[in-house]
């Protein structure tokens, strides 16, 4: 019935158009409206006449007006993320079009550095994840949303503390000593490396709910436009914008429960008692208590978290806007850990002068209230004597009533230098922080009236944050007890960071139809300034009384660095099939001196849209095929200090003075320096192929890359007597990463009731250090020790950086085993057979870096129900189990002033500990794993409240399971040394999402 009516209406229109055409065959103005599939107006859609210089964009109400149109002209409607539609003008003067979301996202516009491009026109290795593909659930920090989603991008959370950051590595990282973190740019504002006091992870300030997409620039041809900041790849984060049109609101809320999935396996109280009674001295046996305390149960808890977001968007007359409010309250599984974040985001996107001037204003503000648990309790809970009670009434409830090791011989009544009650450590330490951060930018994009091909773009942004907090330790806490009372701690900390960015570029983009060429040239300038203010304070006791002479040498410090850049990019397209991109960036850095101040970073890339060749256009199998080849040079200057190029004298603090006569003099110390320091340089070559089959039901790409970093910024030993520090930063050495990335996305089932999509990606990366010495490949050089082991004072190192091996290769003694496969304590292979076991017998073996990692995501929907999961896997990464090595021996139990609990590994090895066992390769374990990150279920309730709103319900589980051979708590340890990791919780979330 309906259909008939429509046909009838269309028929009438067509008839009228035909009549029109016959009658008025002359140039005229056509007006119309563009909407999305659901009838909402679409602003910013490009409306152009094919083959003519005639174009405009739609206003906020979706409307447009095109003059000088003749019947038969073809009008092209194109917009980000939608299929381009060509419509032939008939007789009428009105054209209304509904755009359909693009399949396979080929027409999707991708942000690249200083501009954007259609995905189909990309020449470099660029990957994008948009909000619909994000990981779901209770996610407190945005980068977790893309974990496992992209080939070549590894995201490993730093533990389970609320808001804690992640270690992100793109294509293995390009450095040893300097930073391996990618550059993160939020809406055109590049973030400075590092967090702020009271919030170690800078991204934790961003409400994940506000993010529209992540774009990762992986190869040099894509990233080189960021010059000295691009060697580790670039992550561009785009937040959601105003949509225009009528007022729309979205409310989402979720509640989660976090539980500890796994505990460290330690001796039970009974096992412990048995060992002490059998092997301890009389005095040690007397220390045993009668309790059975599982200290890990005491410090961990199951907790709730809530997350609420309200978004309002629409258009106020011609002003599209989006405002969002978020509040999240998350408790840590470690008692006393809490993170509350309130965020407000405002986006205004008006256009002026007939769309010649586009304005983008983004302001994000976020405030956190955090209480950090004393994570020392994690190790404490593993080692505290399980036979002792949590509380004790002895000593008249001193030390907060907690059981502590007591001594009659000390003034405090406590045994010195021993572990304190783990629960006391948590409850008697109050570290509160109230950091805030605001990131904002104003972007003006002006299309010249007299030359519309030319655009001027001005972007001014800021990133201001302040962290401040107080660490309070109760006067009665054993950890800070003073003889006679009034010890404790009441110390302030504060840090401010002000980063400013100013970018200006001109873009000229013109199609020269006669020569089938499109030229797109950008030239610009960028200024980035990073200024921090670190405040220093004296130490105070719990009552707020200053400890004598604890004043700092200076009240504050203001480290600052500046980057000034000129950049240019040329995109040349021939016949819409052959694409060439060349970029050049010249960077000036305040971190270097003289000739090293300025660096040049070029790149070039070529792409061939094979699909558009005649022999493929008619293919029923292929729907996309593009070959990309790129080469470029990027730099790196993060992870080093600001003023290493010149010698400066530092003044010592008032408690580090020296006495002459009756005076105490603060000392001036000359600082080590390196006048020749400069950026490290990475050259990347990349060959990639993008493919699509069966109308893009199957899409994906494969990339092969080779990255070589030279002039590595490395902390190297200075020949004794030649500098004011034994080690200092210098440009020495080189390293390579070679790899293959592959991803495939499929939609095996696509119907009106059933839909199923799945995506898989895999990355092989091989890292190799190729030189580390001034005299290249010096065979006598032992390498740089890494991977510090806890145990003893400055226990030692488990890894080494050495030529011919991967970064973080384990370098330990080869354990000898008996016939039953039990390790023999302190018996190692004498590799060079010289009769002694010393450093020459340390053997380089496995690496902490994986050989390959994979991600698999899938979603199935049936009518209103949907379900999906994300799997992530890493193969070939090894972890040194420092919990086993440090706490898995008899010395751990009986070799100290007081009794300590041991790792259950002691029962297997029966190691005494009076040996070099910390350096045994027995403790290297295969940490390959398969983890289900996420399992989600959704139900779309559809319209409710008399069709005024739509409702969606969802449920998810995060960290569902881990399959691994690793015997410790969790195989995902990015450093490769597992020591007292904050357990990653398993999180169950229920949520609803309401649109009205």
């Amino acid at each position: 019935m309906k259909l008939k009516k429509r046909l009838g209406r269309y028929g009438l229109v067509i008839l009228l158009l035909l009549v029109n055409q016959l009658i008025f065959a002359q140039a005229r103005t056509v007006t119309g409206k563009v909407t999305d599939g659901t009838g909402n107006p679409l602003a910013g859609v490009t409306v152009a006449v094919k083959g003519k210089q005639n174009a405009t964009t739609t206003a906020t109400d979706g409307g447009f007006s095109l003059s000088n149109i003749n019947t038969g002209d073809v009008v092209v409607f194109s917009s980000v993320g939608y299929n381009t539609i060509e419509q032939t003008v008939g007789a009428g003067s009105s054209l209304s079009i509904a755009l359909v979301t693009a399949a396979g996202n080929l027409n999707e516009v991708v942000v690249v550095g200083y501009g954007s491009t259609r995905k189909r026109d990309l020449t470099g290795s660029v990957a994008t994840v948009s909000s619909k593909d994000f990981q779901k659930g209770q996610i407190s920090t945005p980068e977790q949303m893309i974990a496992g989603k992209l080939p070549g991008v590894s995201v490993i959370s730093n533990g389970g503390q609320p808001g804690s950051g992640s270690t992100i590595r793109i294509r293995g990282g390009s450095s040893i000593r300097a930073s391996n973190d990618p550059l993160i740019v939020i809406d055109g504002v590049p973030l400075a490396a590092g967090g702020i006091s009271g919030a170690g992870n800078p991204l934790s300030f961003i409400n994940p709910n506000d993010i529209e997409s992540f774009t990762v620039l992986k190869d040099a041809s894509a990233a080189a436009i960021y010059g000295t900041r691009a060697s580790n790849g670039v992550i561009l984060i785009t937040t959601k914008k105003g949509t225009g049109g009528k007022l729309r609101m979205n409310f989402s809320t979720s509640v989660s429960a976090s539980t500890v999935a796994n505990k460290v396996d330690v001796l039970s109280a009974d096992e412990f008692r048995e060992i002490v009674n059998a092997k301890g001295t009389l005095a040690q046996r007397a220390m045993l208590g009668t309790a059975n305390t599982d200290w890990q149960d005491e410090i961990y808890q199951t907790v709730l978290a809530t997350d609420n977001n309200l978004t309002i968007s629409g258009g106020l007359k011609k002003l599209p806007y989006r405002v969002s409010f978020g509040y999240t309250n998350q408790n840590g599984v470690l008692r006393t850990d809490n993170l509350q974040r309130t965020s407000i985001v405002l986006a205004l996107n008006p256009s002026f002068f007939n769309n010649h001037l586009k304005v983008d204003l983004n302001i994000k503000g976020s405030a956190q209230q955090t209480r950090f648990a004393n994570t020392g309790a994690i190790g404490g809970a593993i080692s505290f004597d399980p036979t002792q009670p949590v509380y004790s009434e002895e000593y008249d409830n001193r030390f907060g009533g907690y059981y502590e090791w007591r001594s009659a011989a000390t003034a405090t009544g406590l045994v010195n230098l021993v572990g304190r009650n783990p629960l006391g450590l948590l409850n008697q330490t109050v570290n509160r922080s109230n950091p805030y951060r605001s990131i904002g930018n104003l972007q003006l994009d002006y299309k010249f009236h007299f030359l519309p091909e030319l655009r001027a773009n001005l972007n001014m942004g800021y990133d201001v944050s302040e962290g401040r907090g107080t660490t309070f330790v109760s006067d009665s806490a054993a950890s800070a007890y003073a003889p006679g009372g009034v010890g404790g701690e009441n110390n302030k900390y504060r840090q401010q960071r002000t980063n400013t960015v100013f970018d200006f570029y001109l873009n000229y983009n013109k199609l020269f139809s006669k020569i089938k060429s499109r030229v797109d040239v950008t030239a610009g300038y960028s200024y980035n300034n990073f200024l921090a203010t670190n405040y220093f304070y004296a130490s105070y006791n719990a009552q707020g009384v200053k400890y004598p002479n604890s004043d700092p040498a200076f009240a504050f410090d203001k480290p600052e660095n500046t980057l000034v850049s000129f950049f240019g990019r040329l995109n040349y397209t021939y016949n819409d099939k052959y694409l060439l991109t060349a970029t050049l960036r010249r960077d000036g850095s305040s971190r270097f001196a003289g000739d090293n101040k300025w660096g040049m970073f070029p790149s070039v890339a070529f792409a061939w849209k094979v699909m558009d060749e005649k022999f493929l256009t008619t293919s029923k199998v292929f729907s996309d095929l593009k070959l990309r080849i790129g080469y470029g040079v990027t730099g790196q200057q993060d992870g080093i200090n600001n003023y290493d190029f010149l010698s400066f004298y530092g003044l010592s603090s008032p408690n580090a003075t020296y006495q002459f006569g009756n005076e105490y003099y603060q000392m001036y110390r000359p600082g080590a320096y390196n006048p020749n320091i400069k950026w490290e340089e990475t050259t990347t070559a990349n060959i990639g192929l993008d493919y699509g089959f069966y109308n893009n039901r199957i899409t994906g790409s494969i990339d092969v890359y080779h990255k070589k970093t030279t002039d590595l910024l490395n902390s190297i030993p200075q020949p004794a007597g030649t500098n004011f520090s034994a080690f200092f930063i210098a440009n020495v050495g080189s390293m390579e990463n070679k790899g293959v990335e592959f991803n495939i996305n499929t939609e095996p089932v696509k119907s009106s009731t059933w839909n199923w999509d799945a995506g898989f990606n895999v990355t092989f990366n091989k890292n190799e250090i190729t030189n580390l010495t001034v005299v290249p490949k010096d065979a006598t050089y032992r390498g740089i020790q890494a991977g510090g082991i806890a145990g003893g004072i400055g226990g030692g190192f488990s890894q080494i950086q050495q030529v011919g091996y991967s970064r973080n290769t384990f370098n330990l003694y080869q354990q000898v085993y008996d016939k039953d496969g039990k390790p023999l304590e302190n018996v190692f292979v004498d590799v060079n057979e010289d009769g002694i076991i010393n450093q020459d017998d340390l053997t380089k073996t496995k690496s902490a870096v994986p050989d390959l990692f994979m991600g698999f995501s899938t979603n199935v929907s049936y009518k209103r129900f949907s379900a999906g999961f994300v799997l992530r896997s890493s193969i070939g990464n090894y972890v040194y189990n420092n919990v086993y090595s440090n706490a898995g021996n008899q010395l751990q139990i009986l070799g100290n002033y007081v009794l300590y609990n041991a790792s259950a590994n002691y029962l297997e090895t029966k190691f005494n500990g009076n040996s070099n066992n910390l350096l045994s390769d027995y403790y290297i374990q295969n940490a390959s794993f398969l983890r289900m990150d996420n399992l989600t279920f959704g139900y779309d309730a559809g319209s409710i409240l008399r069709k005024k709103a739509t409702l969606r319900l969802n449920a998810s589980v995060q960290n569902v399971f881990v399959l691994t051979k690793y015997k410790g708590l969790d195989p995902e340890v990015s450093s490769g040394v597992d020591n007292n990791l904050y357990p990653r919780p398993r999180i169950f979330t229920l949520g609803l999402n309401l649109n009205f």
Partner: protein, 536 residues
């Protein structure tokens, strides 16, 4: 159209001016740290730079208790172990009969007592790099205070004279550190104030050449240093230079193959004639107010619980000994670490301290025999270093938490000079007399026996072996023992065995290569000019 042009022009002009302004911002300097010219603009600045040359003996870095270390954490991960005194003391004492440390997992500990150390040992590397840090700081100071710099910077009169005196002291401190390197590593790389910074590969200097260099430096600065006992407390004077010369000459045969006992005697006499006397009470030599002992102290490393805080130095020496209660040591308690071997305890007539008061052994709960090297109750402990004043009260600047100490460390004191004198005479040096030697020794013994002559010896008792034992009794825990045992050829040989020497409970001889420490592997790999010591 015109309006647009105008707008564009304004935009361009603004942009260009912003550009130029921004490029200037590429020349940034720190806010708190300052350049050499700023430091050395005033006489006070010179003194504060000199304070670093001195303070490096006492402190681990520029921040009390830690946080801004002088020695890179790649060399020593725990900053509290990285001060000069703790490192030097550990190498001089933990390798001998005088001391053992309980915590074997502490970096570099295992292997010291057992005489099986390697070139990667962090304590050995730590001392090496600590000494070179101090030498490099002194070189810088000497460079910054040469005559032309002084006049360039406009210093005249008293200021100029004072700065020249500072410079002589910096040369003394550098000579001292080179003496340490010569004693421990034999032939280290050599850099003086003419060596460039941040470039270059220093060459090794032979032990004999280094001996000559140290000797010539000390002689050269003698006229420039303050007269004995006239400088500010804590600063070196002529007597400090003489004392180092005396020590250098006493060990000359070890360093050069040639005895220089006559020269040793001459320098001892200069010190004695300068008016030093023994402090009446031995047990007051190493306590919180020992800065009052200006009668005996020649040169000290100064500590103060409020102003000079660190986890090494005398904080380590007061806390380190196992089992000693805080009530005795004047601290928050002990770290359960240091103990003596039974052989060392047996150098004393008895362990009670009632006979020879220098015996300050804590025996409660301790076994005399060190049956196990790494058990805190095996071996008597020591309370020689006590953070209390001579009245038993806490020091004026005492740390309320009982962590930091106020005890100054005697780097040179008259007691040692008497012993050098006697030994040099016994070794055939001229210019002194046996009778005088006996007098000096008996003065030490009378003090040790609380004013009683009961411990005095006769001329026939004054033998070289007696001297070595007496040095043990008088100077133990003052970082002399390893040097002494080597001079008497008892360090690695079987002629004197102590518990755990060579890694066995009864003790055994070790490879003579252990008389010299290895050059750290780290420096060998960064400086191709260096050659490792024999056997490593």
């Amino acid at each position: 159209m015109q309006q647009h042009l105008l707008k564009t022009a304004v935009l361009l002009i603004t942009t260009v001016s912003v550009f130029t302004g921004c490029i200037k911002k590429l020349d940034l300097v720190p806010v708190n740290d300052i350049t050499a010219d700023a430091v050395y603009a005033t006489a006070l600045g010179y003194k504060q730079a000199l304070a670093k040359a001195y303070g490096s003996f006492a402190l681990t870095g520029n921040s009390g208790g830690g946080g801004s270390p002088d020695v890179s954490p790649q060399i020593i991960a725990d900053e509290g172990n990285s001060d000069f005194l703790r490192l030097y003391w550990n190498l001089q004492e933990l390798t001998t009969d005088e001391a053992a440390w309980t915590w074997q997992n502490d970096a570099g500990v295992r292997g010291l007592k057992e005489m099986s150390w390697a070139s990667s040992n962090p304590i050995i590397a730590g001392l090496y790099y600590r000494s070179f840090f101090q030498i490099t700081v002194c070189n810088d100071f000497i460079r910054q205070s040469n005559d032309s710099k002084i006049s360039e910077r406009g210093f005249k009169g008293n200021d100029a004279a004072e700065i020249k005196k500072y410079r002589a002291e910096a040369r003394f401190l550098r000579a001292y550190q080179y003496w340490v390197l010569m004693d421990l590593f034999a032939s280290p790389p050599f850099v003086d104030e003419n060596a460039p910074i941040a470039t270059g590969l220093p060459k090794q200097i032979s032990r004999a050449e280094l001996f000559t260099y140290i000797e010539s430096e000390l002689k050269a600065i003698e006229p420039e240093l303050a007269a004995a006992k006239t400088n500010e407390y804590g600063r070196a004077d002529k007597a400090a230079a003489w004392a180092l010369l005396a020590r250098l000459y006493l060990n000359a045969k070890v360093y050069t193959g040639t005895e220089k006992n006559t020269e040793a005697i001459a320098n001892c006499q200069k010190i004695i004639q300068a008016g030093y006397t023994l402090h009446p009470t031995y047990r007051n030599l190493t306590i919180a107010d020992n800065h009052l002992n200006t009668d005996e102290n020649i040169f000290t490393i100064n500590y103060d619980a409020r102003y000079t805080q660190n986890w090494g130095g005398t904080t380590y020496l007061a806390h380190g000994p196992a089992a000693v209660p805080g009530s005795i040591s004047g601290t928050s308690g002990n770290w359960g670490g240091l103990r003596h071997t039974q052989q060392f305890v047996d150098l004393f007539p008895d362990a009670s301290g009632n006979t020879d008061t220098r015996a300050q052994f804590y025996t409660t709960g301790q076994n005399k025999t060190m049956a196990d090297l790494y058990v805190g109750t095996d071996g008597y402990s020591s309370f020689k270093y006590r953070n209390k004043t001579r009245t038993g009260a806490p020091a004026p600047n005492a740390d309320p938490n009982g962590n930091w100490t106020d005890i100054d460390f005697p780097l040179f004191r008259l007691g040692e000079i008497y012993l050098i004198y006697a030994e040099a005479v016994l070794r055939g040096g001229t210019g002194g007399s046996s009778a005088q030697a006996l007098t000096y020794i008996n003065q030490l013994r009378t003090r040790a026996y609380n004013g009683s002559n009961a411990g005095n010896i006769t001329a026939s008792g004054l033998t070289l072996d007696f001297i070595l034992n007496e040095r043990g009794r008088e100077l133990y825990y003052e970082a002399h023992r390893r040097t002494d045992l080597i001079r008497f050829d008892k360090f690695t040989t079987a002629s004197y065995l102590w518990a755990w020497k060579g890694g066995v409970a009864a003790g055994r001889a070790a490879d003579p290569k252990y008389n010299i420490f290895p050059i750290p592997a780290t420096d060998l790999s960064s400086n191709p000019n260096l050659k490792q010591n024999t056997g490593y």
